[in-house]
Symmetry: C2
Protein backbone atom coordinates (compact mmCIF):
# COMPACT_ATOMS: atom_id res chain seq x y z
CA UNK A 1 0.00 0.00 0.00
CA UNK A 2 1.42 3.39 -0.91
CA UNK A 3 2.44 5.75 1.85
CA UNK A 4 -0.04 8.62 2.45
CA UNK A 5 0.71 12.31 2.31
CA UNK A 6 0.53 12.95 6.04
CA UNK A 7 2.44 9.81 6.96
CA UNK A 8 5.07 10.85 4.41
CA UNK A 9 5.47 14.29 5.96
CA UNK A 10 5.77 12.71 9.38
CA UNK A 11 8.28 10.10 8.42
CA UNK A 12 10.68 12.10 6.31
CA UNK A 13 10.28 15.73 7.22
CA UNK A 14 8.65 16.39 10.60
CA UNK A 15 11.12 14.26 12.48
CA UNK A 16 14.15 16.12 11.12
CA UNK A 17 16.31 17.56 13.85
CA UNK A 18 14.99 20.88 15.02
CA UNK A 19 18.01 23.05 15.60
CA UNK A 20 16.60 26.50 16.29
CA UNK A 21 14.90 27.89 19.37
CA UNK A 22 13.33 30.70 17.32
CA UNK A 23 10.93 28.21 15.70
CA UNK A 24 7.84 28.63 17.89
CA UNK A 25 5.75 26.29 15.75
CA UNK A 26 7.22 24.19 12.96
CA UNK A 27 5.79 21.60 10.58
CA UNK A 28 2.29 20.36 11.36
CA UNK A 29 0.02 23.38 11.70
CA UNK A 30 -1.54 25.62 9.05
CA UNK A 31 1.61 27.74 9.04
CA UNK A 32 4.89 28.08 10.88
CA UNK A 33 5.33 30.61 13.68
CA UNK A 34 8.76 32.22 13.87
CA UNK A 35 10.43 34.69 16.23
CA UNK A 36 12.33 37.40 14.36
CA UNK A 37 14.84 39.21 16.60
CA UNK A 38 13.97 42.89 16.99
CA UNK A 39 17.25 44.08 15.47
CA UNK A 40 16.99 42.06 12.28
CA UNK A 41 15.38 42.48 8.89
CA UNK A 42 13.91 39.54 7.02
CA UNK A 43 15.40 38.29 3.75
CA UNK A 44 13.15 36.08 1.59
CA UNK A 45 13.94 34.11 -1.58
CA UNK A 46 12.17 31.40 -3.60
CA UNK A 47 13.47 29.07 -6.32
CA UNK A 48 12.07 26.13 -8.21
CA UNK A 49 13.88 23.16 -9.74
CA UNK A 50 11.93 21.34 -12.47
CA UNK A 51 12.93 17.87 -13.70
CA UNK A 52 14.38 17.99 -17.20
CA UNK A 53 14.93 21.71 -16.93
CA UNK A 54 17.12 22.35 -13.91
CA UNK A 55 18.32 18.79 -13.43
CA UNK A 56 18.47 15.77 -15.73
CA UNK A 57 15.86 13.03 -15.47
CA UNK A 58 17.31 10.39 -13.16
CA UNK A 59 19.36 12.81 -11.01
CA UNK A 60 20.13 11.26 -7.62
CA UNK A 61 17.43 12.39 -5.14
CA UNK A 62 20.15 13.09 -2.57
CA UNK A 63 21.64 15.71 -4.90
CA UNK A 64 18.20 17.11 -5.66
CA UNK A 65 17.46 17.65 -1.97
CA UNK A 66 20.81 19.39 -1.55
CA UNK A 67 20.50 21.57 -4.67
CA UNK A 68 16.93 22.73 -4.01
CA UNK A 69 18.03 24.16 -0.68
CA UNK A 70 21.50 25.27 -1.84
CA UNK A 71 20.24 27.47 -4.68
CA UNK A 72 18.04 29.34 -2.20
CA UNK A 73 20.79 29.67 0.41
CA UNK A 74 22.90 31.10 -2.42
CA UNK A 75 20.34 33.89 -2.83
CA UNK A 76 20.58 34.62 0.90
CA UNK A 77 24.40 34.58 0.64
CA UNK A 78 24.22 37.19 -2.11
CA UNK A 79 22.29 39.42 0.29
CA UNK A 80 24.85 38.90 3.07
CA UNK A 81 22.12 37.27 5.19
CA UNK A 82 22.28 34.58 7.86
CA UNK A 83 19.95 31.73 6.84
CA UNK A 84 17.32 30.83 9.40
CA UNK A 85 14.35 28.85 8.10
CA UNK A 86 12.95 27.30 4.93
CA UNK A 87 9.73 25.89 3.52
CA UNK A 88 9.50 23.10 0.97
CA UNK A 89 6.89 22.57 -1.75
CA UNK A 90 7.55 19.13 -3.20
CA UNK A 91 5.63 17.80 -6.20
CA UNK A 92 6.39 14.22 -7.15
CA UNK A 93 4.69 11.66 -9.37
CA UNK A 94 4.23 9.14 -6.56
CA UNK A 95 5.25 8.72 -2.94
CA UNK A 96 8.42 6.69 -3.59
CA UNK A 97 9.88 6.02 -0.16
CA UNK A 98 13.39 5.34 -1.39
CA UNK A 99 13.36 8.62 -3.31
CA UNK A 100 12.01 10.50 -0.31
CA UNK A 101 14.47 9.06 2.16
CA UNK A 102 17.42 10.06 -0.03
CA UNK A 103 15.96 13.44 -0.92
CA UNK A 104 15.36 14.26 2.75
CA UNK A 105 18.86 13.13 3.71
CA UNK A 106 20.45 15.39 1.08
CA UNK A 107 18.35 18.35 2.15
CA UNK A 108 18.78 17.87 5.89
CA UNK A 109 22.55 17.39 5.67
CA UNK A 110 22.89 20.83 4.10
CA UNK A 111 20.32 22.33 6.47
CA UNK A 112 22.21 21.08 9.51
CA UNK A 113 25.51 22.36 8.15
CA UNK A 114 24.13 25.91 8.01
CA UNK A 115 21.76 25.67 10.99
CA UNK A 116 18.71 26.41 8.89
CA UNK A 117 15.48 24.62 9.82
CA UNK A 118 12.64 23.23 7.71
CA UNK A 119 9.51 24.77 9.22
CA UNK A 120 6.74 23.98 6.77
CA UNK A 121 5.83 22.56 3.43
CA UNK A 122 3.37 21.12 1.00
CA UNK A 123 3.63 17.76 -0.74
CA UNK A 124 1.53 17.04 -3.77
CA UNK A 125 1.32 14.62 -6.68
CA UNK A 126 2.41 15.80 -10.11
CA UNK A 127 5.44 16.14 -12.40
CA UNK A 128 8.66 16.18 -10.35
CA UNK A 129 9.45 19.69 -9.19
CA UNK A 130 10.89 21.19 -6.00
CA UNK A 131 10.30 24.72 -4.74
CA UNK A 132 12.15 25.95 -1.68
CA UNK A 133 11.47 29.25 0.00
CA UNK A 134 14.28 30.40 2.28
CA UNK A 135 14.19 33.03 5.00
CA UNK A 136 17.25 34.74 6.40
CA UNK A 137 18.11 37.56 8.75
CA UNK A 138 20.33 40.59 8.43
CA UNK A 139 20.99 43.66 10.57
CA UNK A 140 19.36 46.85 9.30
CA UNK A 141 21.56 48.50 6.68
CA UNK A 142 23.81 45.47 6.20
CA UNK A 143 22.03 43.69 3.34
CA UNK A 144 24.02 43.51 0.11
CA UNK A 145 22.09 44.61 -2.97
CA UNK A 146 22.64 44.46 -6.69
CA UNK A 147 22.21 48.16 -7.06
CA UNK A 148 25.02 49.76 -5.06
CA UNK A 149 27.95 49.63 -7.49
CA UNK A 150 29.54 52.82 -8.80
CA UNK A 151 31.86 53.54 -11.71
CA UNK A 152 35.39 52.66 -10.71
CA UNK A 153 34.38 49.84 -8.32
CA UNK A 154 36.28 46.63 -8.97
CA UNK A 155 34.39 43.50 -9.98
CA UNK A 156 35.11 40.13 -8.33
CA UNK A 157 33.90 36.58 -8.62
CA UNK A 158 34.31 33.72 -6.17
CA UNK A 159 35.45 30.19 -6.98
CA UNK A 160 35.78 28.88 -10.52
CA UNK A 161 32.73 29.68 -12.63
CA UNK A 162 32.02 27.20 -15.40
CA UNK A 163 32.73 24.08 -13.34
CA UNK A 164 29.05 23.34 -12.74
CA UNK A 165 28.23 23.69 -16.45
CA UNK A 166 31.00 21.22 -17.28
CA UNK A 167 29.66 18.92 -14.58
CA UNK A 168 26.17 19.10 -16.06
CA UNK A 169 27.57 18.27 -19.51
CA UNK A 170 29.21 15.19 -18.00
CA UNK A 171 25.97 14.22 -16.22
CA UNK A 172 24.07 14.53 -19.50
CA UNK A 173 26.68 12.56 -21.47
CA UNK A 174 27.16 15.70 -23.59
CA UNK A 175 30.93 15.61 -23.49
CA UNK A 176 33.52 12.86 -23.78
CA UNK A 177 36.55 13.47 -21.51
CA UNK A 178 39.86 13.13 -23.37
CA UNK A 179 41.52 9.71 -23.23
CA UNK A 180 43.46 9.22 -20.01
CA UNK A 181 41.66 12.11 -18.27
CA UNK A 182 41.98 11.88 -14.47
CA UNK A 183 38.70 10.58 -13.07
CA UNK A 184 39.09 12.84 -10.06
CA UNK A 185 38.65 15.82 -12.35
CA UNK A 186 35.40 14.59 -13.85
CA UNK A 187 34.18 13.64 -10.37
CA UNK A 188 34.97 17.14 -9.09
CA UNK A 189 33.04 18.76 -11.92
CA UNK A 190 30.00 16.54 -11.44
CA UNK A 191 30.14 17.30 -7.74
CA UNK A 192 30.13 21.04 -8.46
CA UNK A 193 26.88 20.63 -10.40
CA UNK A 194 25.23 18.12 -8.07
CA UNK A 195 26.29 19.67 -4.75
CA UNK A 196 26.81 23.43 -5.13
CA UNK A 197 28.17 25.24 -2.06
CA UNK A 198 26.20 28.33 -1.06
CA UNK A 199 28.76 31.07 -0.39
CA UNK A 200 27.24 32.11 2.91
CA UNK A 201 30.55 32.74 4.70
CA UNK A 202 31.68 34.96 1.85
CA UNK A 203 28.40 36.89 1.83
CA UNK A 204 28.77 37.55 5.56
CA UNK A 205 32.41 38.61 5.12
CA UNK A 206 31.41 41.17 2.49
CA UNK A 207 28.82 42.98 4.64
CA UNK A 208 29.68 46.65 4.85
CA UNK A 209 32.44 46.30 2.26
CA UNK A 210 30.95 45.10 -1.04
CA UNK A 211 29.05 47.88 -2.79
CA UNK A 212 26.91 45.36 -4.71
CA UNK A 213 26.52 41.59 -4.91
CA UNK A 214 24.63 38.98 -6.96
CA UNK A 215 24.79 35.21 -7.10
CA UNK A 216 25.90 33.64 -10.36
CA UNK A 217 23.12 31.30 -11.40
CA UNK A 218 22.46 32.29 -15.02
CA UNK A 219 26.08 32.67 -16.21
CA UNK A 220 28.77 35.10 -15.05
CA UNK A 221 28.35 37.50 -17.96
CA UNK A 222 24.58 37.81 -17.66
CA UNK A 223 24.65 38.12 -13.88
CA UNK A 224 27.51 40.66 -13.80
CA UNK A 225 25.56 42.70 -16.34
CA UNK A 226 22.43 42.50 -14.16
CA UNK A 227 24.43 43.84 -11.22
CA UNK A 228 25.88 46.71 -13.27
CA UNK A 229 22.50 47.54 -14.84
CA UNK A 230 20.74 47.52 -11.47
CA UNK A 231 23.42 49.97 -10.31
CA UNK A 232 22.78 52.27 -13.30
CA UNK A 233 26.22 51.44 -14.69
CA UNK A 234 27.98 49.15 -17.14
CA UNK A 235 31.13 47.06 -16.85
CA UNK A 236 34.33 45.98 -18.48
CA UNK A 237 35.32 42.35 -17.88
CA UNK A 238 38.74 40.93 -18.69
CA UNK A 239 38.07 37.37 -19.85
CA UNK A 240 41.77 36.60 -19.34
CA UNK A 241 41.32 37.19 -15.61
CA UNK A 242 38.37 34.84 -15.14
CA UNK A 243 39.55 32.10 -12.76
CA UNK A 244 38.94 29.12 -15.05
CA UNK A 245 38.96 25.75 -13.40
CA UNK A 246 41.91 23.51 -14.23
CA UNK A 247 39.50 20.57 -14.12
CA UNK A 248 37.07 22.15 -16.57
CA UNK A 249 39.88 23.10 -18.95
CA UNK A 250 41.26 19.56 -18.86
CA UNK A 251 37.87 17.94 -19.43
CA UNK A 252 36.10 20.23 -21.93
CA UNK A 253 39.06 22.26 -23.27
CA UNK A 254 40.01 25.88 -22.57
CA UNK A 255 37.62 27.46 -25.05
CA UNK A 256 34.52 25.65 -23.77
CA UNK A 257 35.68 26.22 -20.19
CA UNK A 258 35.67 29.98 -20.83
CA UNK A 259 32.30 29.85 -22.61
CA UNK A 260 30.86 27.84 -19.70
CA UNK A 261 32.27 30.33 -17.20
CA UNK A 262 30.65 33.25 -19.01
CA UNK A 263 27.34 31.71 -20.03
CA UNK A 264 27.02 28.31 -18.36
CA UNK A 265 24.98 28.92 -15.24
CA UNK A 266 24.44 26.81 -12.09
CA UNK A 267 27.67 28.04 -10.46
CA UNK A 268 26.15 29.68 -7.38
CA UNK A 269 29.31 31.71 -6.90
CA UNK A 270 29.07 35.34 -5.80
CA UNK A 271 29.88 38.22 -8.14
CA UNK A 272 30.45 41.45 -6.23
CA UNK A 273 32.01 44.88 -6.37
CA UNK A 274 34.37 46.65 -3.98
CA UNK A 275 35.18 50.39 -4.13
CA UNK A 276 38.79 50.83 -5.28
CA UNK A 277 39.59 52.95 -2.20
CA UNK A 278 38.68 50.04 0.10
CA UNK A 279 40.39 47.26 -1.84
CA UNK A 280 43.02 46.81 0.89
CA UNK A 281 40.30 45.58 3.28
CA UNK A 282 39.28 42.65 1.11
CA UNK A 283 42.09 40.15 1.82
CA UNK A 284 41.53 40.34 5.56
CA UNK A 285 37.80 39.92 5.13
CA UNK A 286 38.06 36.79 2.99
CA UNK A 287 41.08 35.22 4.70
CA UNK A 288 38.92 32.64 6.48
CA UNK A 289 36.46 32.09 3.65
CA UNK A 290 37.10 28.79 1.95
CA UNK A 291 36.96 29.98 -1.66
CA UNK A 292 39.12 32.15 -3.87
CA UNK A 293 37.96 35.60 -4.93
CA UNK A 294 39.37 37.04 -8.14
CA UNK A 295 39.19 40.50 -9.67
CA UNK A 296 37.78 40.17 -13.19
CA UNK A 297 36.86 43.70 -14.19
CA UNK A 298 35.67 47.13 -13.34
CA UNK A 299 32.36 48.98 -13.22
CA UNK A 300 32.12 51.95 -15.57
CA UNK A 301 29.51 54.52 -16.32
CA UNK A 302 28.59 53.48 -19.88
CA UNK A 303 25.69 51.00 -19.88
CA UNK A 304 26.27 47.47 -21.12
CA UNK A 305 29.15 45.04 -20.94
CA UNK A 306 32.48 45.22 -22.71
CA UNK A 307 34.63 42.09 -22.78
CA UNK A 308 38.37 42.42 -23.24
CA UNK A 309 41.52 40.35 -22.97
CA UNK A 310 44.29 42.47 -21.54
CA UNK A 311 43.68 45.81 -23.24
CA UNK A 312 41.99 44.48 -26.39
CA UNK A 313 38.25 44.10 -26.91
CA UNK A 314 36.96 40.60 -27.62
CA UNK A 315 33.61 39.63 -29.16
CA UNK A 316 31.76 36.63 -27.69
CA UNK A 317 28.14 35.54 -27.48
CA UNK A 318 27.54 35.33 -23.77
CA UNK A 319 23.75 35.32 -23.47
CA UNK A 320 22.79 33.94 -20.10
CA UNK A 321 20.09 31.53 -19.16
CA UNK A 322 16.51 32.51 -19.86
CA UNK A 323 13.88 29.90 -19.15
CA UNK A 324 11.63 30.92 -21.99
CA UNK A 325 14.28 31.27 -24.67
CA UNK A 326 16.29 28.36 -25.97
CA UNK A 327 20.06 28.34 -25.96
CA UNK A 328 22.80 25.98 -27.14
Amino acid sequence: MPIGEFELIDRYFRTAASCRSDVLLGIGDDAALLAVPPDRQLVAAIDTLVEGRHFPVGTAPHSLGHRALAVNLSDLAAMGADPAWFLLALTLPRADEDFLAQFARGMHALAQQYEVQLVGGDTTAGPLSVTVQALGLVRPGEALRRSGAQAGDLLFVSGHPGEAAAGLLLEMGGVEPPAGCDENLTALLRQRFLYPTPRLALGRALRGLASACIDVSDGLAADALKLATASGCGLRMDVGQIPLSAAAQAVVGPEAALRNALAGGDDYELCFTVPAARLAELPGRVANVKCAVTCIGVIDSAPGMRLCRGGSPVAMDVAGFDHFRSRD
Copy 2:
Protein backbone atom coordinates in the same frame (compact mmCIF):
# COMPACT_ATOMS: atom_id res chain seq x y z
CA MET B 1 9.37 36.35 -30.76
CA PRO B 2 8.42 34.90 -27.38
CA ILE B 3 8.70 37.10 -24.34
CA GLY B 4 11.77 36.39 -22.17
CA GLU B 5 11.81 35.49 -18.50
CA PHE B 6 13.09 38.82 -17.24
CA GLU B 7 10.87 40.87 -19.50
CA LEU B 8 7.94 38.75 -18.31
CA ILE B 9 8.69 39.45 -14.66
CA ASP B 10 8.98 43.14 -15.43
CA ARG B 11 5.80 43.40 -17.41
CA TYR B 12 3.40 41.40 -15.28
CA PHE B 13 4.78 41.27 -11.78
CA ARG B 14 7.33 43.94 -10.94
CA THR B 15 5.07 46.77 -11.95
CA ALA B 16 2.24 45.68 -9.66
CA ALA B 17 1.22 48.35 -7.21
CA SER B 18 3.46 48.33 -4.16
CA CYS B 19 1.21 48.96 -1.21
CA ARG B 20 3.44 48.46 1.81
CA SER B 21 6.14 50.67 3.28
CA ASP B 22 7.67 47.70 5.12
CA VAL B 23 9.00 46.29 1.83
CA LEU B 24 12.56 47.62 1.83
CA LEU B 25 13.50 45.76 -1.35
CA GLY B 26 10.94 43.95 -3.49
CA ILE B 27 11.13 42.05 -6.77
CA GLY B 28 14.37 42.39 -8.72
CA ASP B 29 17.23 41.48 -6.39
CA ASP B 30 18.47 38.08 -5.21
CA ALA B 31 15.94 38.19 -2.38
CA ALA B 32 13.40 40.52 -0.83
CA LEU B 33 14.24 42.62 2.22
CA LEU B 34 11.39 43.10 4.68
CA ALA B 35 10.94 45.06 7.91
CA VAL B 36 9.22 43.00 10.62
CA PRO B 37 7.83 45.18 13.43
CA PRO B 38 9.53 44.42 16.75
CA ASP B 39 6.26 43.37 18.45
CA ARG B 40 5.26 40.82 15.84
CA GLN B 41 5.99 37.18 15.15
CA LEU B 42 6.27 35.85 11.62
CA VAL B 43 3.73 33.38 10.19
CA ALA B 44 4.83 31.43 7.08
CA ALA B 45 2.84 29.09 4.81
CA ILE B 46 3.43 27.50 1.41
CA ASP B 47 1.01 25.80 -0.98
CA THR B 48 1.22 24.45 -4.51
CA LEU B 49 -1.51 24.12 -7.13
CA VAL B 50 -0.77 21.60 -9.90
CA GLU B 51 -2.75 21.52 -13.15
CA GLY B 52 -5.01 18.47 -13.36
CA ARG B 53 -4.70 17.90 -9.62
CA HIS B 54 -5.83 21.07 -7.86
CA PHE B 55 -7.58 22.66 -10.82
CA PRO B 56 -8.95 21.28 -14.08
CA VAL B 57 -6.97 21.68 -17.30
CA GLY B 58 -8.29 24.82 -18.95
CA THR B 59 -9.16 26.68 -15.72
CA ALA B 60 -9.33 30.43 -16.32
CA PRO B 61 -5.90 31.91 -15.49
CA HIS B 62 -7.63 34.75 -13.60
CA SER B 63 -9.11 32.19 -11.19
CA LEU B 64 -5.78 30.40 -10.90
CA GLY B 65 -3.99 33.61 -9.90
CA HIS B 66 -6.68 34.25 -7.28
CA ARG B 67 -6.74 30.70 -5.91
CA ALA B 68 -2.97 30.28 -5.63
CA LEU B 69 -2.84 33.29 -3.34
CA ALA B 70 -6.19 32.65 -1.61
CA VAL B 71 -5.29 29.14 -0.40
CA ASN B 72 -2.17 30.56 1.27
CA LEU B 73 -4.02 33.50 2.80
CA SER B 74 -6.45 30.92 4.16
CA ASP B 75 -3.56 29.30 6.06
CA LEU B 76 -2.66 32.69 7.52
CA ALA B 77 -6.33 33.23 8.43
CA ALA B 78 -6.34 29.93 10.31
CA MET B 79 -3.42 31.26 12.40
CA GLY B 80 -5.20 34.54 13.11
CA ALA B 81 -2.43 36.39 11.27
CA ASP B 82 -2.43 39.63 9.29
CA PRO B 83 -1.11 38.88 5.80
CA ALA B 84 1.86 41.00 4.75
CA TRP B 85 3.90 39.65 1.83
CA PHE B 86 4.08 36.76 -0.60
CA LEU B 87 6.45 35.12 -3.06
CA LEU B 88 5.41 33.35 -6.26
CA ALA B 89 7.06 30.37 -7.98
CA LEU B 90 5.33 30.02 -11.34
CA THR B 91 6.07 27.12 -13.67
CA LEU B 92 4.36 27.28 -17.04
CA PRO B 93 4.85 25.47 -20.32
CA ARG B 94 5.49 28.65 -22.31
CA ALA B 95 5.40 32.39 -21.73
CA ASP B 96 1.83 32.96 -22.94
CA GLU B 97 1.21 36.67 -22.53
CA ASP B 98 -2.56 36.41 -22.48
CA PHE B 99 -2.37 33.76 -19.76
CA LEU B 100 0.09 35.83 -17.75
CA ALA B 101 -1.88 39.04 -17.98
CA GLN B 102 -5.03 37.34 -16.70
CA PHE B 103 -3.18 35.34 -14.05
CA ALA B 104 -1.47 38.46 -12.72
CA ARG B 105 -4.77 40.40 -12.69
CA GLY B 106 -6.48 37.67 -10.65
CA MET B 107 -3.62 37.51 -8.19
CA HIS B 108 -3.13 41.23 -7.81
CA ALA B 109 -6.83 41.94 -7.32
CA LEU B 110 -6.85 39.67 -4.27
CA ALA B 111 -3.49 41.00 -3.07
CA GLN B 112 -4.74 44.56 -3.17
CA GLN B 113 -7.94 43.65 -1.35
CA TYR B 114 -5.95 42.34 1.60
CA GLU B 115 -2.97 44.71 1.34
CA VAL B 116 -0.50 41.92 0.84
CA GLN B 117 2.41 42.59 -1.53
CA LEU B 118 4.24 40.34 -3.99
CA VAL B 119 7.92 40.74 -3.07
CA GLY B 120 9.73 38.06 -5.04
CA GLY B 121 9.41 35.06 -7.24
CA ASP B 122 10.78 32.62 -9.74
CA THR B 123 9.39 31.87 -13.16
CA THR B 124 10.42 28.76 -15.00
CA ALA B 125 9.36 26.57 -17.91
CA GLY B 126 7.67 23.24 -17.17
CA PRO B 127 4.29 21.63 -16.50
CA LEU B 128 1.80 24.23 -15.23
CA SER B 129 2.09 24.61 -11.47
CA VAL B 130 1.89 27.55 -9.06
CA THR B 131 3.51 27.72 -5.63
CA VAL B 132 2.81 30.69 -3.39
CA GLN B 133 4.59 31.30 -0.11
CA ALA B 134 2.77 33.75 2.14
CA LEU B 135 4.12 35.65 5.14
CA GLY B 136 1.96 37.17 7.83
CA LEU B 137 2.34 38.87 11.18
CA VAL B 138 0.79 38.25 14.56
CA ARG B 139 1.37 39.63 18.07
CA PRO B 140 3.24 37.28 20.41
CA GLY B 141 0.83 34.84 22.01
CA GLU B 142 -2.05 35.63 19.66
CA ALA B 143 -1.49 33.00 16.96
CA LEU B 144 -4.26 30.41 16.67
CA ARG B 145 -3.03 26.82 16.60
CA ARG B 146 -4.56 23.44 15.89
CA SER B 147 -3.46 22.06 19.21
CA GLY B 148 -5.25 24.15 21.84
CA ALA B 149 -8.68 22.49 21.99
CA GLN B 150 -9.87 20.78 25.17
CA ALA B 151 -12.64 18.31 25.89
CA GLY B 152 -15.91 20.23 26.18
CA ASP B 153 -14.92 22.99 23.72
CA LEU B 154 -17.55 23.58 21.08
CA LEU B 155 -16.69 23.02 17.42
CA PHE B 156 -17.63 25.58 14.75
CA VAL B 157 -17.32 25.96 11.01
CA SER B 158 -17.66 29.09 8.90
CA GLY B 159 -19.67 29.45 5.71
CA HIS B 160 -21.19 26.50 3.86
CA PRO B 161 -18.71 23.65 3.42
CA GLY B 162 -19.27 21.54 0.33
CA GLU B 163 -20.03 24.42 -2.01
CA ALA B 164 -16.58 24.40 -3.56
CA ALA B 165 -16.69 20.64 -4.17
CA ALA B 166 -20.04 21.05 -5.95
CA GLY B 167 -18.54 23.92 -7.94
CA LEU B 168 -15.61 21.74 -8.99
CA LEU B 169 -18.01 18.99 -10.07
CA LEU B 170 -19.80 21.55 -12.24
CA GLU B 171 -16.49 22.79 -13.67
CA MET B 172 -15.49 19.22 -14.53
CA GLY B 173 -18.89 18.40 -16.09
CA GLY B 174 -19.24 15.70 -13.42
CA VAL B 175 -22.80 16.62 -12.48
CA GLU B 176 -25.88 17.57 -14.45
CA PRO B 177 -28.01 20.17 -12.62
CA PRO B 178 -31.70 19.20 -12.43
CA ALA B 179 -33.95 20.54 -15.21
CA GLY B 180 -35.00 24.12 -14.50
CA CYS B 181 -32.25 24.66 -11.94
CA ASP B 182 -31.59 28.35 -11.32
CA GLU B 183 -28.39 29.32 -13.15
CA ASN B 184 -27.50 31.68 -10.33
CA LEU B 185 -27.07 28.68 -8.06
CA THR B 186 -24.64 26.89 -10.37
CA ALA B 187 -22.79 30.17 -10.91
CA LEU B 188 -22.47 30.66 -7.15
CA LEU B 189 -21.06 27.16 -6.67
CA ARG B 190 -18.53 27.55 -9.49
CA GLN B 191 -17.52 30.88 -7.99
CA ARG B 192 -16.93 29.26 -4.61
CA PHE B 193 -14.47 26.84 -6.24
CA LEU B 194 -12.82 29.33 -8.59
CA TYR B 195 -12.63 32.31 -6.20
CA PRO B 196 -12.43 31.11 -2.59
CA THR B 197 -12.53 33.83 0.07
CA PRO B 198 -9.78 33.59 2.68
CA ARG B 199 -11.46 34.07 6.07
CA LEU B 200 -8.93 36.62 7.29
CA ALA B 201 -11.43 38.82 9.10
CA LEU B 202 -12.79 35.79 10.95
CA GLY B 203 -9.30 34.61 11.90
CA ARG B 204 -8.56 38.05 13.35
CA ALA B 205 -11.87 38.12 15.22
CA LEU B 206 -11.08 34.78 16.86
CA ARG B 207 -7.71 35.81 18.32
CA GLY B 208 -7.69 35.24 22.04
CA LEU B 209 -11.05 33.48 21.93
CA ALA B 210 -10.76 30.35 19.77
CA SER B 211 -8.85 27.59 21.57
CA ALA B 212 -7.86 25.97 18.24
CA CYS B 213 -8.33 26.67 14.53
CA ILE B 214 -7.63 24.99 11.16
CA ASP B 215 -8.60 25.85 7.63
CA VAL B 216 -10.83 23.40 5.81
CA SER B 217 -8.96 22.43 2.66
CA ASP B 218 -9.11 18.62 2.70
CA GLY B 219 -12.73 18.16 3.80
CA LEU B 220 -14.47 19.21 7.02
CA ALA B 221 -14.35 15.74 8.61
CA ALA B 222 -10.65 15.17 7.97
CA ASP B 223 -9.65 18.68 9.01
CA ALA B 224 -11.80 18.71 12.18
CA LEU B 225 -10.21 15.39 13.11
CA LYS B 226 -6.73 16.86 12.51
CA LEU B 227 -7.56 19.70 14.89
CA ALA B 228 -8.86 17.32 17.57
CA THR B 229 -5.92 14.94 17.17
CA ALA B 230 -3.37 17.78 17.34
CA SER B 231 -5.08 18.79 20.59
CA GLY B 232 -4.78 15.27 22.00
CA CYS B 233 -8.57 14.86 21.85
CA GLY B 234 -11.35 13.50 19.68
CA LEU B 235 -14.67 14.97 18.58
CA ARG B 236 -18.35 14.36 18.08
CA MET B 237 -19.88 16.04 15.04
CA ASP B 238 -23.62 16.35 14.44
CA VAL B 239 -24.05 16.02 10.67
CA GLY B 240 -27.55 17.46 11.03
CA GLN B 241 -26.02 20.75 12.19
CA ILE B 242 -23.60 21.16 9.27
CA PRO B 243 -24.68 24.35 7.46
CA LEU B 244 -25.32 22.82 4.05
CA SER B 245 -25.58 25.23 1.19
CA ALA B 246 -29.05 25.64 -0.32
CA ALA B 247 -27.37 25.99 -3.71
CA ALA B 248 -25.39 22.75 -3.33
CA GLN B 249 -28.47 20.86 -2.15
CA ALA B 250 -30.49 22.13 -5.12
CA VAL B 251 -27.79 21.28 -7.66
CA VAL B 252 -26.31 17.98 -6.43
CA GLY B 253 -29.01 16.84 -4.01
CA PRO B 254 -28.98 16.77 -0.19
CA GLU B 255 -27.05 13.52 0.19
CA ALA B 256 -24.17 14.53 -2.10
CA ALA B 257 -24.20 18.01 -0.55
CA LEU B 258 -23.56 16.45 2.87
CA ARG B 259 -20.88 14.11 1.51
CA ASN B 260 -19.20 17.07 -0.20
CA ALA B 261 -19.33 19.08 3.02
CA LEU B 262 -17.67 16.30 4.99
CA ALA B 263 -15.15 15.05 2.48
CA GLY B 264 -15.10 17.42 -0.49
CA GLY B 265 -12.24 19.78 0.15
CA ASP B 266 -11.33 23.17 -1.37
CA ASP B 267 -13.68 25.08 0.96
CA TYR B 268 -11.12 27.28 2.71
CA GLU B 269 -13.55 27.85 5.55
CA LEU B 270 -12.27 27.94 9.13
CA CYS B 271 -13.05 25.16 11.60
CA PHE B 272 -12.42 26.27 15.18
CA THR B 273 -13.20 25.58 18.80
CA VAL B 274 -14.43 27.88 21.57
CA PRO B 275 -14.46 26.96 25.28
CA ALA B 276 -18.07 26.53 26.42
CA ALA B 277 -17.55 29.05 29.23
CA ARG B 278 -16.72 31.77 26.68
CA LEU B 279 -19.42 31.02 24.14
CA ALA B 280 -21.27 34.24 24.93
CA GLU B 281 -18.35 36.24 23.54
CA LEU B 282 -18.55 34.73 20.06
CA PRO B 283 -21.55 36.61 18.58
CA GLY B 284 -19.98 39.99 19.34
CA ARG B 285 -16.67 38.92 17.87
CA VAL B 286 -18.13 37.75 14.58
CA ALA B 287 -20.86 40.38 14.21
CA ASN B 288 -18.88 42.26 11.56
CA VAL B 289 -17.42 39.22 9.83
CA LYS B 290 -19.16 38.56 6.54
CA CYS B 291 -19.74 34.84 6.94
CA ALA B 292 -21.90 32.65 9.13
CA VAL B 293 -20.38 30.54 11.88
CA THR B 294 -22.25 27.42 12.99
CA CYS B 295 -21.75 25.08 15.91
CA ILE B 296 -21.42 21.54 14.53
CA GLY B 297 -20.08 19.52 17.43
CA VAL B 298 -18.01 19.20 20.54
CA ILE B 299 -14.49 18.15 21.43
CA ASP B 300 -14.26 15.14 23.71
CA SER B 301 -11.46 13.23 25.33
CA ALA B 302 -11.75 9.95 23.39
CA PRO B 303 -9.54 9.95 20.29
CA GLY B 304 -11.14 9.80 16.84
CA MET B 305 -14.33 11.19 15.36
CA ARG B 306 -17.90 10.16 16.07
CA LEU B 307 -20.58 11.32 13.65
CA CYS B 308 -24.16 11.59 14.86
CA ARG B 309 -27.49 13.03 13.81
CA GLY B 310 -29.27 14.42 16.83
CA GLY B 311 -28.46 11.84 19.48
CA SER B 312 -27.99 8.84 17.15
CA PRO B 313 -24.69 7.67 15.72
CA VAL B 314 -24.37 7.64 11.90
CA ALA B 315 -21.83 5.73 9.80
CA MET B 316 -20.32 7.51 6.77
CA ASP B 317 -17.09 7.21 4.83
CA VAL B 318 -15.56 10.64 5.21
CA ALA B 319 -11.91 10.12 4.25
CA GLY B 320 -10.39 13.46 3.39
CA PHE B 321 -8.11 14.38 0.60
CA ASP B 322 -4.70 12.74 0.43
CA HIS B 323 -2.56 13.54 -2.58
CA PHE B 324 -0.98 10.12 -2.76
CA ARG B 325 -4.09 8.04 -2.25
CA SER B 326 -6.93 7.93 -4.72
CA ARG B 327 -10.50 8.66 -3.72
CA ASP B 328 -13.86 8.68 -5.46
